[in-house]
């Protein structure tokens, strides 16, 4: 059974993607560490964590695509799961600082000394252990997604209502984490990390390793997603996306399927967040901002939802564009970015990958195994004209 699933996961598309990712996982650290400076393909140090950041964003977009592109659940709060995973990792990294903080307190992180904490709050216990932190990276977003999804899907909160309450979720979390009394460093968040598993987070080798880890994690996420969407469950998900109550009348427990997808997606987002933090060097409450979550949706849409490669392309491309434009046209980049969103929605409704596929499919004769989902979906149903169920 397991082998059948694995086999299914390795369909042609996924194989290509995984190979490309593994190649990148090797190539980037190689270009950075092995090739001497001055070599035309040498990659400067500062680019490695930057690329690592793009990779974790791509993973986040992939996570969103699993629920949105395949299951029709538009979450406007996926940044919350990402940030929670990030905070779990950040807490581990904070505990690793030990006495090297400004105040030299062996247990309490600097900001706690600052705010007159006398003892470590209970929810910080255990985070000095890497594996415990890793468990939390998966568990915290997963459990939150489970509880939230359980309530929401059971009550059949759908469409735009669901989108808005996911937004409320991340907004509420943002407000909570901004509070200094909450015990997570308030507005400043967690930063000034020293090392991870005993390796200096700032060293080039650690960064190369972190980058490779991110690529591998992304490849694994691609495999997981591929295994899901190519299974019968994946077909049920698409069925739910396109005609939710029809699926119900076939005897599928739509709430459970959605919950499964939502939890898996939240966990992938959490892992992406955990990989993001050591490379970027800071985690703070603005990651919970609703605007960030909307951006994730946009990466996915621009890349092409309902495909595995689309969100990855979108996440990489848009963030790369952001980096370039904020330096190239610091005063006007928002025009470019905003204009891009408008144009893509108007002219490339299926996103970059979807459009390219369409173009190629038009040239090539239709194939028998064409399982490409259309970019139409439940969300395309008119919103208000339909009386409530």
């Amino acid at each position: 059974m397991i082998s059948a699933m694995l086999l299914r996961a390795l369909d042609r598309r996924a194989v290509w993607l995984v190979c490309a990712l593994l190649l990148v996982a090797l190539a980037i650290p190689f270009a950075n560490l092995v090739l001497p400076e001055g070599h035309p393909l040498h990659l400067p140090n500062y680019l490695v964590p930057l690329l690592g950041k793009y990779m974790s964003y791509a993973m986040l977009a992939l996570a969103l695509d699993l629920v949105w592109g395949y299951c029709g659940i538009l979450s406007l709060g996926h940044g919350a799961f990402f940030a929670l995973g990030g905070y779990a990792m950040g807490m581990y990294l904070m505990r690793q600082i030990g006495t090297r903080g400004v105040y030299g307190n062996p247990i309490l992180p600097d900001f706690m000394v600052f705010l007159n904490y006398k003892t470590l709050p209970w929810f910080w216990y255990g985070f000095d252990n890497f594996w415990f932190a890793c468990l939390m990276v998966v568990l915290v977003p997963g459990v939150l997604a489970f509880v939230f999804g359980f309530l929401a899907f059971r009550s059949r909160v759908t469409g735009v209502y669901l989108s808005i309450i996911t937004q409320a979720l991340t907004y509420a979390l943002m407000l909570a984490f901004f509070r200094n009394d909450f015990g997570f460093g308030g507005n400043n968040g967690l930063t000034d990390y020293k090392d991870i598993l005993g390796f200096n987070v700032l060293s080039a080798t650690t960064r190369g390793a972190l980058f490779a880890a991110t690529c591998i994690a992304l490849a694994v996420a691609v495999l997981v997603c591929s295994a899901i969407v190519n299974s019968k469950l994946g077909k049920v998900m698409v069925a739910i996306r396109d005609a939710e109550s029809r699926t119900r009348f076939l005897g599928y427990r739509v709430d459970n399927v959605k919950l499964f997808a939502f939890v898996v997606s939240a966990v992938i987002a959490g892992v992406a967040g955990a990989l993001y933090v050591p490379q970027v060097g800071i985690i703070n409450p603005s990651e919970f901002e609703p605007g960030n979550s909307i951006e994730i949706v946009i990466w996915t849409a621009v890349g092409g939802r309902g495909t595995l490669v689309g969100p990855i392309v979108g996440g990489l491309l848009l963030n790369f564009g952001k980096t370039v434009f904020t330096s190239l046209w610091p005063d006007y980049w928002l025009f470019a970015l905003g204009g891009l969103f408008v144009l893509v929605t108007l002219f490339l409704p299926k996103g970059i990958v979807g459009t390219i596929r369409d173009l190629l499919a038009r040239k090539a004769p239709p194939r028998r195994d064409n399982t490409q989902p259309e970019a139409t979906g439940a969300e395309d149903a008119p919103l208000v004209t339909e009386p409530a169920e």
Binding site: A20, G104, T191, Y193, L202, V280, N284, V324, S327, D331
Partner: protein
């Protein structure tokens, strides 16, 4: 074999490779690059954009004077978009990719905390032009804004004095982030030390961008009706100030009855408000536009000409940027190079003129000596200085008010004490360098 997927995979690779292509923008030899790291979009753009313009103005002026070390200065402006991780990313980009000689930037404490590791790692210099919470001294940062003892403490002293109204009851009204938290911690301790009873201090925190102040202003009024002279010490940040002051004016809280002294409200913030009903409320700064000195007049005139608008105000962080830039220019001239270590070595002890008179000297703890001025809001949106320190006040990185910071010093020139947190009692640095 699907062509689509190969193309898609190629896209992934291509995107990554093209980032690399962006990298080696080789610095031209005849210019010195200066990084400007201020948010031009997002929530902080409202404050930081002016500082970006100020830097462009100062660099422009310097180039007119013939540049530095015979080379032209070239500003490299980036937009960190009010996002703290992006600040770190952009700082890295400025230093590693653009090879800037120094970076002028940041506004919020969070953005500074976010870029700190980058500056330490890549050994570059950050000039930080905003008043802040103190409790920090770093080798790679020059703090040209006020430390708490150069703003908060003198303001409270003034209000406790007869001139200031002999205030006995205090509301510490703040936005919930690290600068107000620390300032309030210091102030609370200071007030308690000066015989203010615990029940005469009210501390309240609100979130960023808070806009519905009805309840809180009413609570201030109620707190102020205990029969003792009451004042509000406000560390409310940025956007939340306008609705706060509008509510104050509407609920009829007059400066004569309950004065509000603010540490984050300057000319620029006032220019967005109708100040007729706010006359007499106070602000503590190291600079006011209304101060009448030849240096200030020249600065304001030059600024108006540069920005092409003679209504644009100047403010304290602009002066801090001005001082920071001049210090850097002087240090580079003295060192004869823009090399970080040489500049850091040269810069301590240098003095440049303040715009309000007197000179700013950079102390070994990387803070400045500054005069402290208390101003009252006028109907035209300017401040009238009603009190000022006789001498410049040296910036104190570690507050002497807090018991845990007593005896902590920072001195980046001393070979032994060469750290940011030197415990004079233990005679040792208590942090890893």
């Amino acid at each position: 074999m699907t062509g689509v997927d190969r193309i898609a995979a190629g896209l992934v690779l291509g995107a990554i490779v093209s980032v690399g292509a962006l990298a080696p923008a080789v610095a031209a030899d005849d210019t010195i690059k200066v990084g400007v790291l201020h948010s031009l979009s997002g929530t902080m753009a409202i404050s930081e954009t002016t500082l970006k313009d100020t830097m462009l103005f100062l660099i422009d002026e310097q180039n007119k004077k013939g540049g530095l070390l015979g080379k032209k200065l070239e500003p490299v402006v980036v937009d960190p978009a009010s996002d703290w991780p992006t600040f770190a990313e952009k700082a890295r980009e400025l230093i590693s990719q653009d090879h800037v000689a120094a970076v002028f930037g940041c506004w919020t404490s969070s953005s500074r905390k976010s870029v700190l590791p980058v500056f330490k790692e890549l050994n570059s210099i950050l000039f930080y032009p905003v008043q802040y919470e103190g409790e920090e001294s770093e080798k790679n940062v020059i703090y040209t804004g006020a430390a708490p003892n150069q703003q908060a403490i003198p303001a409270v002293d003034y209000l406790m004095s007869e001139d200031g109204g002999s205030v006995k009851r205090w509301v510490l009204e703040a936005t919930d982030y690290v600068y107000p938290r620390t300032t309030n911690k210091i102030l609370e301790q200071y007030l308690l030390d000066h015989g203010v009873a615990k029940e005469d201090i009210r501390i309240n925190y609100t979130p960023f961008g808070f806009s519905d102040w009805q309840t809180e202003v009413a609570a201030i009024k109620e707190f102020g009706s205990a029969g003792k002279k009451t004042a509000v010490v406000s560390t409310i940040n940025g956007d939340a100030n306008v609705p706060f002051y509008k509510e104050l004016a509407n609920q009829g809280i007059k400066a004569e009855d309950i004065p509000v002294v603010a540490f984050s409200v300057g000319e620029e913030e006032l220019s967005g408000m109708d100040t007729t009903n706010l006359v007499g409320h106070l602000a503590a700064w190291n600079y006011f536009e209304s101060v009448d000195t030849p240096e200030n007049k020249a600065f304001i005139d030059g600024w108006h000409k540069f920005i092409g608008n003679d209504k644009r105000t100047t403010n304290d962080p602009m002066e801090a940027a001005y001082i920071g830039f001049n210090l850097w220019v002087k240090a580079v001239e003295k060192a004869g190079t823009t090399d970080t270590d040489a500049v850091l070595k040269a810069i301590v002890g240098l003095s440049v003129p303040n715009l309000t008179g007197g000179t700013a000297t950079l102390l070994p703890n990387h803070h400045l000596t500054k005069p402290v001025l208390i101003g009252e809001v006028q109907a035209d949106g300017q401040f009238d200085v009603v009190w000022q320190t006789k001498d410049v006040v040296p910036g104190d990185a570690w507050s002497d008010v807090l018991p845990e910071d007593k005896g902590i010093e920072a001195d980046w020139t001393d070979p032994i004490k060469g750290c940011g947190h030197y415990d004079t009692a233990k005679q040792a640095c208590t942090t890893a360098p």
